[in-house]
Structure formats: structure tokens, C-alpha cells
Amino acid sequence: MIPVAFDYQRATSIDDAIAKLAASNGGKAIAGGHSLVPLMKLRLSEPGTLIDISKIPGLSGIRESGGRIEIGATTTHSDIASSTLLRDKCPMIAEAAAEIGDPQVRNRGTIGGSIAHADPAADFPAVMLALDADIVIKGKGGQRSVKASAFFRGFYDVDLAPGELITAVQFDPIKTAAYAKLHQRASHYAIVGAAAALTVKGGAIESARIGLTGATTHAIRLPGVEKALAGKKADGIAAAVHNAAADVPEVNVDLHASEDYRKAMIAVFVRRAVEKAIARS
């Protein structure tokens, strides 16, 4: 629990943070520290410099503009869980936030940190995929935006270059969307977590986006399930998703879930998310 020595710097603006990251030679940005600090305590991560972005003005907050919602990178899980705007217009992300870790984690951990770290069992990546969110990134070369489906690339691998910072996520709010999660009882990460966003017309699913976390190396979409759900009403959901695990290339195996169990749970939690989502239509 004793990390190696590191320098600490506090950034005053996004540009200041980017400059400090560039000058730091392998430094890391820290906000809530709930992904990074546990690794540092175990000496699995040994950044020479930490650049604290948690006090940068304007980097946190939940905003609505022109029908789009933007969540600043340093917005905490608990702020997302308790946002009346999100609860009203996009309840899935609020309910996913409410299921992260425990109150202490939610009070410190941030959405930007969760997405940048991309733990294979983190909740927000699945939600970003289901929302088809844009991840807004800033670096020395300026600002760019990446679709969530392109951002999450592999095992702790995201489209974020050294020196770049996530500044916000943006998405069209969708009410007919829901998150369902099987908790690992020690860490409260997801054994599987399913995010379902539906467009529903006349009680039938027109189109679906399903994001899944905990199941494989990184959060993924389930194209086979999405296709099978098209045109289905509530009573057709179970049949459409029962083979959801077939969309998952390599299923994780650990102390808490064997391959068989995790595969079965993928179908269960995808179905529960879709059923909860359609019930919101």
C-alpha cells in the first residue's frame, strides 16, 4: 500500500493540464483516483508525476444544449446518479452510476477516469456504447471526438494517446434505455453489466443498441442481439436474447464466474436490461 515516490502537480486549466502532461514524461492525470491509486498502492502503476485535474474549472458538470447532453470528465459518479436532468431524460446512465462500487467510490470516482481506465468490468463503458456517445478528447494537437464504439479497443486499451485528456462525453438522451448488472460481491464491479438503449414504436423495438461489460476483454456492442431484437415486442425479447453470449468472442473466466455461468448471465442481464428499457416506453 506504499506507492513509489511521485511528483504531484495541480492543473489550473485543461490547457495547463495538457502542457503539464506533455512536460511530465510518462505522467498521469488524476481526478478521483479510484482506478489509478489502487494500482499505485500495489505498485502495478508507477507514474513519476500525477497531474491533478480535479480542480479545473468547468471540467465537471452536466449540461443540456440543443437536445444533446454533455457530462464533464471530472463529474463524479454520485453527481451523475443524483442528477434530476439525467434521471428524467436518460435514466440509464444515472442508474448505472448508482450501482458503481460504494458511496465512497461514487463520491470520488469520475466518469472520465472510468472511461479512460476502461476496466473490463467497469459500468460506464457499456453505457457509453449503448448511448452511442461521443468521447471528447483534447491534446496538444487540439480537440477531437471519437465514437464510444471506436474508443474502447481492447484490454485496458482505448483510443487515447499519451498527453491527451478526456474532457467530456456527449450523447442524445434516450429514455427507453436501462442498465442491469450482476454485482461481483467483493469489488462490486460487474460480473456482467448490460446497457440497452431502444427506439420503440407502437410497443415494438425499432432498433436497439446493447453495450456489455464484464464479459470479455473490454466493453463491446452485441450486433447479433441488436439485430434479433429489431421488430420484437416485449414478449419476444427473451427468445431474441437467449443466445446473447454468442456475440461475445472470448468470455472472461475468474474466481467469481466460470465461462458457463458468465455466458448464462450475459443472456439474463441483457434480457433484464431490454425488458426494463421497453417498460420505459
Binding site: 506504499i2 460481491r185 469489488s187 474466481l255 467469481h256 464466474a257 455461468y261 448464462a264
Partner: protein, 793 residues
């Protein structure tokens, strides 16, 4: 020993809030990690990362060269100044060096020591030590280990047997010279039904909120050692530190400052304590080591880990004729202070609450390449309770009897107390039917059954579980403890009438600063706020044993009461002289000391106290001052008991169990402070439920602790529980004047089996007759999925 009927004046029995809490919850407590001594250096351990191997080489050169590093010691260096560690039980034990000398036997065993100017430097230097090993096969499965497979860990202990097949129970002579199986064999020959089941009471990591820590300070000018440690028993620590440093006990002062939980794992005197002391003495510097959480998972003793083969012989009407229990305890790599004794408590309590006429237990303790076990809340008794209460439920199921009915059929009856068990215990007092009846009523048992049956008709998987328990507490007569089984108390009435009292108990969450002050305030009829309880410092508390085995109130509380009685008598003599009355007529009332029948003569308590310290004139035959002490040795242990009932639901699709209801009726005798008692029960329930549903130490085949952090080792959270429904029956013990039995561990006894009983009841429709803890969702999911295929996970 006083056996008069307890008197219950005004503060005793009241729900007084813990006076410890305001400082603790505001972060104003002082723990070992908060202490600083001028010149203090920091010590870190290099620990083995493999489970079993021979040390080929240790290269300390890079560490020794680092800025701020002052000394590096290997196991061989430490062995020159520190003998192998002693244990506190009369069993044979292999040499156990505080820092491994040639072979490492569990992942986490210390192999070298670094002393540095700074904690971070010490840790960096420990990382810079390079140890190479010749790996040996890891012994992980205790039942394979008993056949010497895959290897033998200690050369003088063939087949890894620390203790082999020690028999106990009916027909066994106390010195084991004779084992007569006639009665047990007859019970099984006469049986109309026999239940046989292998059960596992799995390994747990104690995980006190505060890990361990030590600060040892040898003062060369004074030739004294002061050692601060996060321990449950500073007086035992003092004794051991003196012995291992080759100095007298008069040269050692041991201090347990604020201690953030122990749960039995801080009874043991650890290698880290000895190492800090010998290094401090060698360097002439204060030496501090604080365990981090990663270390704590492997370096602090684990708990439980006992396999039982249980056989019950019974008649068809539910009457149990005999019980056999073959116990195999996986004790890990070494014997620690009480390791070998813990499973003997499982044997001792095999009679449970039942009048079983013939019992045979055998105990085998096995070395494996795991962290050593020792006491963990309940220490052997939850294991006994679990095995017997699961077996009683299996019997009820087999006979299609209500689980309450089969228990009732076998209870020891109130008129049988004191009750001599088959296992050598003498239960002091009990009324088991009363506790069962109270629990059934509190839970609305028949209503719950109807609710369960209705839920099942809706396709839900719901089960009900019930468990009795009886525990051995208030340890105990000196014949039962190698340390001595007494406790010490001293009461001083200060010149201003305030009371300072010291206790040999060393509370670390038990609330004795509050409960003992309640007792003394009542005894002297002075305000609660006028009484201070000191503990945990051998420089202040003359003698003591410590806090474990739910003994504080029954033993230490009584010692204080007896000391108070002596002081009060002397104070009455001063009062009699000052008030010109007979000593027998002196009364202590509401902060005044007066004369019976002459209220006008009363003087403030403080005035009498002041007179005792400036006694002009000095009454004939009296010495000045008001301070006295007492040792209390109980004649027997106490045996609290109770009944717990639970209802759980298992998610048919995921196997996730959810605790819907937990009703606990506990009988701890007379209660000093029901609020604190309930807090103790809440904590015990959390840990008992944790074992059943959330906590499990899991090792890989190569001896690595897979659940070595809170990411994988689940700790129960408030959200895992329903609101506990607590109530009490009161059956006082005759062995101490308060009639109090002890309650610190009770919650861990009844809760665990009652939850597993509920889970098996829930799954009975799937052909399940038994499931081992912990109730992992995947395990239950398999049972549901494989219904009709033998019902085994």
C-alpha cells in the same frame, strides 16, 4: 467467589451511549500508526511471494546502498538475536522463526527486514532485495496433506500432522489413557436413522479495520523496552517480549493504544512484534512497523478452516442417540500462540444444546502452505455450532419433522443444569426451550412458513432456517488458559471524589470504558461522568490477561466490582469516623455519604474522599488513601445461548442469495448495557452472515491467496442485510455476581448455520440436502440447474 443475587441499580441495565464513540468517529483516537517518537526509524519486511520453497540466496546489496537505509537483516541475522517463537498450547510444534531462515512455508512469510529513515524508503528497499528460491510443491489440500501429498512441510511431522486423531467425548479418559467406544457404538447400532455428511467450515480473513502495527523503543540509558502494539492483550505481550529479549518483565512496558478491532487475530503475539523489539534493542533506536492491507491479508492469522465428517444416530421420533464428528483442521504453515487449541473448542462444544448421551469426536490438525490460523471471533465454537446445527436440520429433513420440533426433542432441560456434557464441559445455566419459543414467536415461524409456501407457489425459491447455539465464554478458570484465567481490577477514589479504575481487559470495540463506568457509578452512587476506566497499558494497569473469549464483563467486570467493594468498605470506615456513626450505618446515595436514619449528617462523596487523603485525625487502624485492587478467578466458564432464524430467497436465474429476514434471540444472562450488547450482536451477525454468504479465503493450487484484496475478498456491507430483529431471554449465570455471561462472539454462532439451513430449505425442491458455504451465486445456480442430478454443486 460471590454468588449472591445480583443487585441491579440504576445505570446497570440502561442503554448508555458509548463514551468511546465521540472521539473515535471524529478521528480523534490515537492508533499505533499515529505515534511518533524522536529518532524513530521505520521497518519493512521482505516477504515470500511463493508458498513453499528453499531459499537459495538473498541479495541485500542494492537495498543496503539506498539513501536512508540504515540496516538490512536476513532471517539468519535475526535468528542470532531471536529464538524460534514459542506457542501457548501444549502440543508439539516445529521451529518457527519470525523471519524464515532456510525454507519459506507460506506466501507472505517474512524473509528479510529493512530499517530506514522513512516508511517509503523502507518499502522501496524491501522491494530491492532479491531472493531466489528452489520451489517445493505447495501443500494446499488438507486431506491430501494427511497422506504426505504432495510433500511434507516440516520434517519432524510426518504426513503433515500437527495433531493426529486426538479423541474426545464419551468413554475417553481425561488423559487419553483409555478410549472406550462401547456407548458410541451402541448408539449407532440402536439407531433407526443415521445422517452422515462431510461439511466444510471454510477459511476466513479477519480483516480488522485497523491492520496491525508495532512501535518498539529500547532505551539504552534505562535498559527498558516500551512496546506499543495493536494487540488484544498487552500483558501477554509484555511477558513474551521480556522472555524473547532475555530481560525481566519489570523492564518491559507494553501499550495497546486505540485498537481498531481484533476479532481474535490480535491475541497472537506475532513475529513482527518480536522483530521490532530485538531490532530496537540491537540498534538502540525506536523502531516502527505498520502493516499495510496487502500484508494483512497474508501476514495476520486466518480463522476457521475445519472439515467435519459428521454422523448422527437417531430414533425415528427424532431423539438423537449418538454423534460422531471427525474433525480435520487446516492450520496453515505453523502453530501460532493458540492455533492448536482453537479446534479443541469445536470438540468441547459438540454437545451443543442437546442431551446427547454418546459422542465421539476426533481431531486432526494438518500443516499446509497457507497463512497460519488462530482465533477468529467465536474461535472453534461457530464451527461446532455449524456442524451440529446443520446435522440437526438434516435429521429433521430426513424425518420430515419441523426443525424446531427435532431440536426441542433433544434439548438439555432447565432442571438438568449445571449440566455435565459428554465433552467435559459443565454448562452453568440454560433454558433453551425458552429461547427457541421466543424466537419462533418473534419471527412468527408459522406465518413465515406460510409466506415461504406462498412464494414457492409463485415460482420463487425461498427458504427458512433455524439454529440454536450455546457458546463457552467468560474464559475462564486458570485450568483452561495457559496465561491464567483470572482478571485484575483496581479502583482509586481520587481526592476530589472522582474514580479512576484500571482493568486488565484490553477493549478494542467492546465498550468497557462505558459499561465498567456504569458499574462503578452505581456501586458508589456517583455520576457516570465521575468514573474513568483506564486500560491497555502495563505501566498503568498492574496486571491483566486481556480481551478475548467474551470474557470482559464476566471476569474483568467482576474483578473491578470486587476492587470497588474493598474501596467502598474503607471509605465507609472513614465516613463512620468523620460522621461519628457506625460503619454498618453508612449509606452511599446520589453522590452523598450519609448515615442511615440521620439524613442531616450526610456529606458529599468528595468530602469523604478528601478526608481519606488528609485524615486529621487518622482513624485508628486505617491507612490514608482510597485505592485497592482485586483479582477475580471464575469457578467456571459461562455458557450463553440463543436461537437465530433467517429467511432467504435465491434468484432462480442467477443463484444470488438475498437475506430477507434475520431474527436473533440471544441469552447472555444479565445485561449491563443492552445498547452495547445489541451492537456486539450486530457485529457478530455481520461476520456470521459474511461467512455464510460473502466472505471466503480461496487459495490456488500453488498456494497463492486468490482473495488477497478487497477486490476479491468480499466484506459484508450494511446494504447486504435486512434490519436485524433482536430480542433477549435472560438466564443469569451463577458464576459471577452480575449474572452476566458474555456476548462479543455470540452473533457469529447462530447466524451462519441458520442461513445455510435456509438455503438448503430453499433448494430442497431441487433435491439438495447440503451445500457448503460460502453461498456463491454460481454454486447455487449450478444446484438449481442440475436439479435431479444428485443435487450436488
Amino acid at each position: 467467589m460471590t454468588t449472591s443475587a445480583p443487585v441491579l441499580p440504576k445505570l446497570i441495565g440502561e442503554r448508555v451511549k458509548r463514551r468511546e464513540d465521540p472521539r473515535l468517529i471524529r478521528g480523534l483516537g490515537t492508533y499505533v500508526d499515529d505515534l511518533k517518537v524522536t529518532g524513530m526509524r521505520h521497518l519493512a519486511f521482505k516477504r515470500s511471494d511463493i508458498a513453499h520453497g528453499t531459499i537459495r540466496s538473498i541479495d541485500t546489496s542494492a537495498a543496503a546502498k539506498m539513501d536512508g537505509v540504515e540496516a538490512v537483516f536476513t532471517g539468519a541475522d535475526i535468528a542470532k538475536v531471536l529464538a524460534p517463537m514459542p506457542i501457548g498450547t501444549p502440543f508439539p510444534s516445529p521451529a518457527h522463526y519470525a523471519v524464515a531462515v532456510d525454507v519459506v512455508r507460506y506466501a507472505g512469510e517474512p524473509v528479510a527486514v529493512v530499517v530506514a529513515s522513512d516508511r517509503y524508503v523502507a518499502r522501496d528497499a524491501a522491494d530491492a532485495i532479491v531472493v531466489t528460491y528452489d520451489p517445493l510443491p505447495a501443500v494446499v489440500d488438507p486431506e491430501a496433506a494427511m497422506t504426505g501429498k504432495p510433500t511434507v512441510i516440516h520434517k519432524d511431522f510426518p504426513n503433515n500432522l500437527a495433531v493426529a486423531l486426538v479423541p474426545s467425548g464419551t468413554g475417553v479418559a481425561p488423559d487419553f489413557s483409555k478410549v472406550d467406544n462401547t456407548a458410541v457404538d451402541k448408539a449407532f447400532a440402536d439407531a433407526e436413522v443415521v445422517i452422515s455428511q462431510r461439511m466444510v467450515n471454510h477459511r476466513l480473513v479477519p480483516n480488522a479495520m485497523e491492520p496491525r502495527g508495532v512501535l518498539a523503543h529500547w532505551e539504552p540509558g534505562k535498559d527498558t523496552m516500551t512496546i506499543w502494539s495493536s494487540t488484544q492483550n498487552p500483558h501477554i505481550l509484555k511477558t513474551m517480549i521480556a522472555a524473547m529479549n532475555g530481560i525481566g518483565q519489570h523492564q518491559v512496558r507494553a501499550i495497546a493504544p486505540e485498537v481498531g478491532g481484533g476479532f481474535g487475530a490480535k491475541i497472537n503475539i506475532y513475529g513482527e512484534e518480536y522483530v521490532c523489539s530485538v531490532v530496537s534493542k540491537k540498534l538502540g533506536l525506536p523502531i516502527k512497523w505498520v502493516e499495510d492491507r496487502t500484508e494483512a491479508f497474508v501476514a495476520t492469522t486466518h480463522g476457521r478452516d475445519i472439515i467435519a465428517y459428521v454422523d448422527v444416530a437417531a430414533r425415528k421420533d427424532g431423539k438423537v442417540l449418538g454423534l460422531k464428528m471427525k474433525l480435520i483442521a487446516d492450520i496453515g504453515a505453523y502453530n501460532m500462540l493458540l492455533t492448536a487449541a482453537i479446534p479443541t473448542l469445536t470438540m468441547l462444544m459438540a454437545n451443543a444444546t442437546y442431551d446427547i448421551p454418546a459422542i465421539r469426536t476426533t481431531l486432526t490438525e494438518v500443516f499446509t502452505n497457507k497463512t497460519p490460523t488462530d482465533a477468529y471471533r467465536g474461535a472453534g465454537r461457530p464451527e461446532a455450532t455449524y456442524f451440529v446445527e446443520r446435522a440437526m436440520d438434516m435429521l429433521a429433513h430426513e424425518l420430515k419433522m419441523d426443525p424446531a420440533e427435532v431440536r426441542r426433542k433433544n434439548f438439555i432441560k432447565p432442571n438438568q443444569f449445571p449440566y455435565q456434557t459428554q465433552m467435559g464441559a459443565v454448562y452453568d445455566s440454560g433454558n433453551y426451550d425458552k429461547a427457541l419459543t421466543a424466537a419462533l414467536k418473534a419471527a412468527n415461524w408459522d406465518g413465515l412458513k406460510a409466506e415461504r409456501d406462498k412464494a414457492r407457489k409463485e415460482g420463487r425459491i425461498v427458504g427458512l432456517g433455524l439454529s440454536m447455539y450455546v457458546e463457552v465464554c467468560g474464559l475462564g478458570p486458570s485450568s483452561s488458559l495457559p496465561t491464567g484465567g483470572w482478571e485484575h481490577g483496581q479502583v482509586t477514589v481520587e481526592r476530589d471524589g472522582r474514580i479512576t479504575a484500571t482493568t486488565g481487559a484490553s477493549p478494542h470495540g467492546q465498550g468497557n470504558e462505558t459499561t465498567f463506568a456504569q458499574m462503578l457509578a452505581d456501586q458508589f452512587s456517583i455520576p457516570f461522568e465521575h468514573v474513568t476506566i483506564l486500560h491497555g497499558d502495563t505501566g498503568v494497569v498492574k496486571q491483566g490477561i486481556g480481551t478475548f473469549g467474551s470474557r470482559s464483563q464476566a471476569v474483568a467486570g467482576t474483578a473491578l466490582h470486587l476492587a470497588g467493594t474493598k474501596v467502598k468498605k474503607k471509605m465507609a470506615q472513614f465516613a463512620a469516623a468523620l460522621l461519628e456513626a457506625s460503619e454498618d450505618d453508612i449509606v452511599f446515595e446520589n453522590g452523598m455519604v450519609g448515615v442511615k436514619g440521620a439524613p442531616a449528617k450526610a456529606k458529599p462523596f468528595a468530602a469523604i474522599a478528601g478526608y481519606a487523603y488528609v485524615p486529621v485525625p487518622l482513624p485508628q487502624g486505617l491507612e490514608p488513601g482510597l485505592s485497592d485492587e482485586a483479582f477475580f478467578e471464575p469457578a467456571n466458564n459461562t455458557y450463553p445461548f440463543g436461537c437465530h432464524i433467517s429467511m432467504i430467497e435465491i434468484d432462480r436465474e442467477t443463484g444470488e442469495p438475498k437475506l430477507l429476514k434475520l431474527v436473533a434471540v440471544d441469552d447472555a444472562g444479565n445485561l449491563i448495557n443492552p445498547l452495547i450488547v445489541e451492537g456486539q450482536i450486530h457485529g457478530g451477525l455481520a461476520q456470521g452472515i459474511g461467512q455464510a454468504m460473502i466472505e471466503e479465503a480461496v487459495y490456488s493450487d500453488d498456494g497463492q491467496l486468490l482473495t488477497g484484496s478487497f477486490m476479491d475478498y468480499g466484506m459484508p456491507r450494511a446494504t447486504d442485510f435486512p434490519r436485524f430483529e433482536l430480542s433477549a431471554t435472560v438466564t443469569p449465570t451463577p458464576v459471577n455476581p452480575f449474572g452476566a455471561k458474555g456476548v462479543g462472539e455470540a452473533g457469529t454462532l447462530g447466524s451462519t448455520p441458520c442461513i445455510v439451513n435456509a438455503a438448503v430449505d430453499a433448494l430442497s425442491g431441487f433435491g439438495v440436502k447440503h451445500v457448503d458455504m460460502m453461498l456463491r451465486p454460481e454454486k447455487l445456480w449450478h444446484l438449481i440447474k442440475n436439479a435431479g442430478q444428485g443435487g450436488r454443486a
